[in-house]
Symmetry: C2
Subunit: 237 residues, 2 copies
């Protein structure tokens, strides 16, 4: 196996173990290269890939930092809803429910769990400009997020993914999403102040950590009368 890949996975391990903390600077490149016993070019090759995945962040003249799942990154990487006019806004989030239950078939499949496994179920409503726009239902493995509490969830200082990262060492690095249109069911219709059956967008997102390990399933029901779901795949400039 290529050397730079080993270095990359050692860096990932150091992040997951908490040796390198989110937001903190790594040692400089020459020191890291010496520590891993590789040349600077090889060390940079490894760091390059982690920077491309938003796991690390380089700033010329300042240093290399462990990426934080803060509001900025959440908005830019995972929150893909914006107004039809293109305006983006940080949503106001209200927690509706927090339970545990046996995983449904869809949850077990998405999260890679056995049929009998238990999951946390969390329900949120997200508002933009004071109006409810998204109804989120989240499922998390009780094994991966052991001892998660409602209080922890409600009183978190930052984003949900920041909580995953700081309290459970789970760094979300990507997501697979599947979208379809459907008529709003009774529950979503009430929450989003719509007539039942109104066309809404349903997005199922499986967020995953390193090696595509699934970490979270989220079903978002979106009122697209004034907002849209955006997705972009663009070349480097």
């Amino acid at each position: 196996m290529a050397l730079y890949r080993q270095v990359k996975h050692e860096l990932i391990a150091d992040i997951q173990s908490g040796k390198f903390q989110p937001g903190k600077a790594l040692p400089n490149e020459t020191e890291l290269a010496q520590r891993f016993g590789v040349s600077i070019g090889t060390l940079r090759h490894a760091v390059d890939e982690l920077v491309a995945d938003h796991v690390l962040l380089r700033q010329q003249g300042r240093g290399t930092f462990v990426g934080q799942q803060d509001n900025d990154r959440f908005m830019y990487q995972f929150f893909k809803i914006e107004g039809r006019d293109g305006l983006r806004e940080f949503p106001q989030i209200r927690l509706l429910a927090f339970d545990t239950a046996r995983a449904s078939a869809e949850e077990a499949q998405a999260l890679g769990l056995r049929g009998a496994a238990r999951v946390f179920r969390i329900e949120n409503v997200l508002s933009l400009q004071g109006r409810p726009v998204v109804h989120d239902r989240i499922a998390l493995s009780c094994t991966l997020f052991a001892r998660l509490t409602r209080a922890q969830f409600e009183q978190r200082p930052g984003t949900i993914y920041e909580l995953y990262q700081r309290a459970f060492g789970v760094t979300v690095v990507g997501a697979d999403e599947r979208a379809r249109a459907e008529g709003a069911d009774a529950a979503s219709a009430t929450l989003l102040q719509l007539a039942e059956g109104t066309p809404v967008l349903r997005v199922a997102r499986v967020a995953h950590t390193f090696d595509r390990q699934p970490a979270e399933l989220r079903i978002s029901i979106i009122d697209t009368r004034a907002h849209e779901f955006v997705s972009s795949a663009s070349a480097t400039p």
Copy 2:
């Protein structure tokens, strides 16, 4: 400006000018490096980025090739509709209409045209497993695609993007997409064999070439009773 970026743009220019043909091999890396007067590392840095954008394709031991907009690449990079079971299939495409008209406000804005500019309007129905699933309306600038004919469009051997690439030197390298749910209008409902008002997915895609120059606006109306629109953002393994 960094040297490798200049090299990258010289390579792009050579592809756009037709000096390097789609599907053909480039000269080997040492020769390219000499030709551009840079070291092999710098040449590789430039090629690395073009490979990441799927513009070039490297195969160890064989060479470096100009990426072709063939069926495989189309399916993998731009056709994001698959069955709920995850099955992907190449669609059967039927041309419904081919016209020119003054650009609408939405078309002019998406394609970066003045209000009075003319566009080609093309309408397709895409079928999967013999059933109509997607109603596509495409708008192209008459300036960028000068002298495009209906016959050219109907009798193209490969994908639409392959036609853009071979006949007009337009290499599509990315796309921005915006999705929302709406009730099917009369035209789409008939084509997709739905009741009018049935929830359907509406995806507006602006495909662009190098430097994010817009090349195509496509409005897709998708019947998501058996299919979904997929979108993935994942870290390198």
